[in-house]
């Protein structure tokens, strides 16, 4: 007869559900902050070091517009992606398009851009901006435990966002042309595709998705000019571990890293959770230098 420890026997259902929900939210959170970066990296091989600042800008759009009386849902779901997407298009036209194919130069240029954006936001809004935004949707009771209903909403948004990106890539002409450009830009160009335009649209969309993520996280995080730095490392590790496929890569990277971080955090603590995430990424990239989708699900999106 297997030995049953008291802990196992007493593990109540509501706790299991609450922990499970947190694990899924941890994974969704990682996917949400990474997906915009994955679009830009997967499609264009551009390493956008200003990704964290695009998230920050999304947050600022929400804080500033709600302070001026805009409805929070409008600010998060419409204004944040719209404005950050526009900024992305401008950045692509002014900065990125001159540097295609020069990975190290884009790296430096986008790093400079991140410093510029932090400086701009600090000089316009100051070192911190007061907020009135509280997490909407109230509390979710799970037996003796409680969680935020808004976290459930964020999980839903992440799934919907993934489906939407899949549909665009698979079913629209833009998606077809974009996938063609991604596979072989020269051939696509020879067949009459304006690759420059595709790159602009892709970068804009990547920025818009990032802005949406930043906006959606604004009610549950601190919004400060330099908050981007806390996201950038995790987003990069997720995307690089996932590999070149936008959706499958982000999903695989987030599930693996977010899952391990979550489990280790529950078992020991947040510090070891982060250690677990980093160790997994190091071992993974040693075994699979091209990321998970460089070896598995190679044909996926």
């Amino acid at each position: 007869m297997p030995h049953v420890t008291p802990q196992q026997k007493d593990l109540p259902l509501d706790l299991v559900v609450a922990i499970g929900l947190q694990l899924i939210y941890g994974i969704a959170h990682l996917a949400l902050i990474s997906i915009g970066l994955a679009i830009i990296f997967g499609m264009m091989r551009v390493i956008n070091l200003a990704h964290g600042e695009f998230l920050m800008l999304g947050g600022y759009v929400v804080v500033v517009s709600t302070n001026n009386g805009v409805n929070i849902w409008v600010a998060m779901l419409i204004l944040a992606p719209l404005i950050v997407g526009l900024i992305g298009v401008i950045v692509e036209r002014l900065l990125i398009r001159w540097l295609y194919g020069r990975m190290v130069d884009t790296l430096l240029a986008t790093w400079g851009l991140s410093l510029l954006l932090i400086g701009l936001v600090t000089s316009i809004f100051g070192a911190s901006t007061a907020t009135t935004v509280a997490p909407p949707l109230g509390v979710l009771r799970i037996g003796a435990y409680s969680s935020s209903a808004y976290e459930l909403f964020l999980i839903g948004v992440t799934i919907v966002l993934g489906i939407a990106i899949w549909l665009v890539l698979k079913l629209t002409k833009l998606g077809l042309v974009a996938r063609g450009t991604m596979q072989n830009a020269e051939m696509a160009s020879a067949l009459g595709v304006s690759t420059s335009r595709i790159y602009m649209i892709t970068f804009g969309l990547g920025a818009a998705v990032t802005g949406l993520a930043g906006g959606l996280l604004a009610p549950v995080t601190g919004v400060l000019p330099n908050i981007g730095a806390t996201y950038i490392a995790k987003a990069f590790i997720t995307v690089i571990s996932g590999g070149a496929s936008i959706l499958a890569g982000t999903a695989a990277g987030s599930v693996l890293l977010g899952g391990i971080q979550g489990v280790v955090t529950f078992l020991s603590g947040p510090t070891f959770g982060e250690v677990g995430l980093l160790l997994t990424a190091i071992v993974l990239l040693r075994l699979m230098p091209r990321g998970i989708t460089g070896r598995f699900f190679r044909k996926s999106l």
Binding site: I19, V220, G222, N226, I227, T230, F266
Partner: protein
């Protein structure tokens, strides 16, 4: 654009020749140099920018009252850009290049530890005007901020009395957070309470879900927080989003000095307890005048004044008082004046320098957050820095220059 080798050599040697001349001029000036090194950009600007404004006001006030010893005081303000390397560089520049009479500044303990030895070596009086974990015992370094035996020791029994004796501790995972958590556990135990759990968070953690579950599982009466920085603001938001702030209140000795109470909405923060040596609502005429002048200087966008910014003003004023008393700006006479039981009444109330530790005997104030403002609950006058006093005696040995709590309290011989 390319720079030819010749142009480069000409340019750099011209600069090298010019530099001593610049230094010479600084030395020859009749002004007294007051150097301040703070982070005005980068991740720590949220703390550094208000401290710099308060320092500027102090120097303006000193000069408006006729300067010191008939000489004008000039502020050299260095932006360390949240980089430790720049702290070391600017400390050397201030001490050796500017020949500053005193250097104030440093925000994190790491920045203080980077410049403290340099300034001791140059014998340039150093003021660290930040609340910190205690334990610095340095003849040349005056620590004017509050320490755990002042704030934590007062707020823990108050909160335990109000909320209950079972406590869960969350803290930032670096030197400061670790040491504060040790003090918290100590004071919880001393007051007959029980610590159910302690968790540390790296400074870039933004998802606190697992910890919130653990707190729900442990069912404490209150949470003690020593979380630090922008990312950790997420804890308070996610805690409120899970409805926890209504069931299990939070008490903190770090919340508020980074304007955290403005970064979360009123409903998320209401009811939070905090302890510092100063809040804006401290009621005395000096504070009223101080805030009015800050308003006039910075207008509607004035940051909330907190212990760090007020103490930056007061630190400068304490030094100025000592210079007046000594009749000199030289190290030894000013040092003796500072350690002569110098006391001064300023916005936060009466401050007295304790010669045993070079720390400051000061008021401690407990406050409750309501609608993004701290309302004062209780004040304690003249609290001594008894934590540092357990290990430090500069009267017996005025050559000491160490940081005793570097490796935690046990290593310093405190049980």
């Amino acid at each position: 654009m390319s720079i030819s080798r010749r142009k480069f050599i000409v340019g750099t040697s011209a600069f090298a020749l010019a530099s001593p001349a610049l230094m010479g001029r600084a030395q020859g000036s009749d002004k007294i140099i007051f150097a301040s090194i703070l982070d005005l950009s980068g991740g720590l600007d949220i703390y550094g920018a208000p401290m710099a404004e308060a320092t500027k006001l102090a120097i303006e006030d000193i000069n408006a009252a006729g300067g010191l010893l008939g000489r004008e005081v000039e502020l050299k303000l260095y932006d360390a850009q949240s980089s430790i390397q720049l702290y070391t560089q600017y400390a050397t520049q201030a001490a050796a290049g500017d020949r500053a009479a005193t250097v104030h500044g440093g925000i994190t303990s790491a920045s203080r530890e980077a410049i403290r030895p340099t300034l001791a070596r140059f014998k340039t009086l150093y003021f660290y005007n930040t609340q910190y974990e205690g334990g610095v015992c340095d003849f040349n370094n005056f620590n004017t901020g509050s320490t755990p035996a002042q704030t934590v020791a007062k707020v823990v029994p108050y909160a335990m009395n109000k909320f209950g004796k079972k406590v869960y501790i969350v803290a930032a995972d670096y030197n400061y957070g670790q040491i504060i958590a040790e003090w918290m556990q100590r004071f919880v135990k001393e007051n007959g309470g029980e610590t159910l759990g302690v968790e540390f968070f790296p400074l870039d953690v933004t998802n606190f879900g697992p910890t919130i579950n653990k707190i729900q599982q442990a069912k404490p009466d209150m949470v003690l927080s020593a979380l630090v920085g922008g990312a950790h603001v997420s804890f308070y938001r996610q805690y409120a989003a899970a409805g926890m702030n209504k069931d299990i209140p939070i008490t903190s000795t770090t919340f508020g000095i980074g304007n955290e109470h403005k970064l979360i909405s009123a409903e998320e923060g209401n009811g939070l307890l905090a302890a510092y040596s100063y809040f804006e609502k401290v009621d005395n005429p000096e504070n009223k005048a101080f805030l009015e002048r800050m308003d006039a200087k910075l207008g509607a966008n004035r940051p909330t004044m907190n212990e760090l910014s007020v103490r930056s003003y007061e630190g400068a004023m304490l030094w100025a008082e000592a210079v007046k008393l000594a009749g000199s700006i030289d190290h030894d006479p000013v040092w003796q004046a500072l350690r002569s039981g110098l006391s001064y009444t300023r916005p936060s109330g009466k401050l007295t320098i304790d010669p045993q530790t070079n720390h400051v005997i000061q008021n401690v104030v407990l406050a409750e957050l309501q609608d993004q403002e701290f309302n004062i609950l209780e004040s304690f006058a003249d609290q001594p820095p008894s934590d540092t006093a357990m290990v430090c005696d500069l009267v017996a040995d005025p050559t000491l220059s160490t940081f005793y709590f570097e490796n935690g309290l046990a290593a310093a011989g405190i049980k």
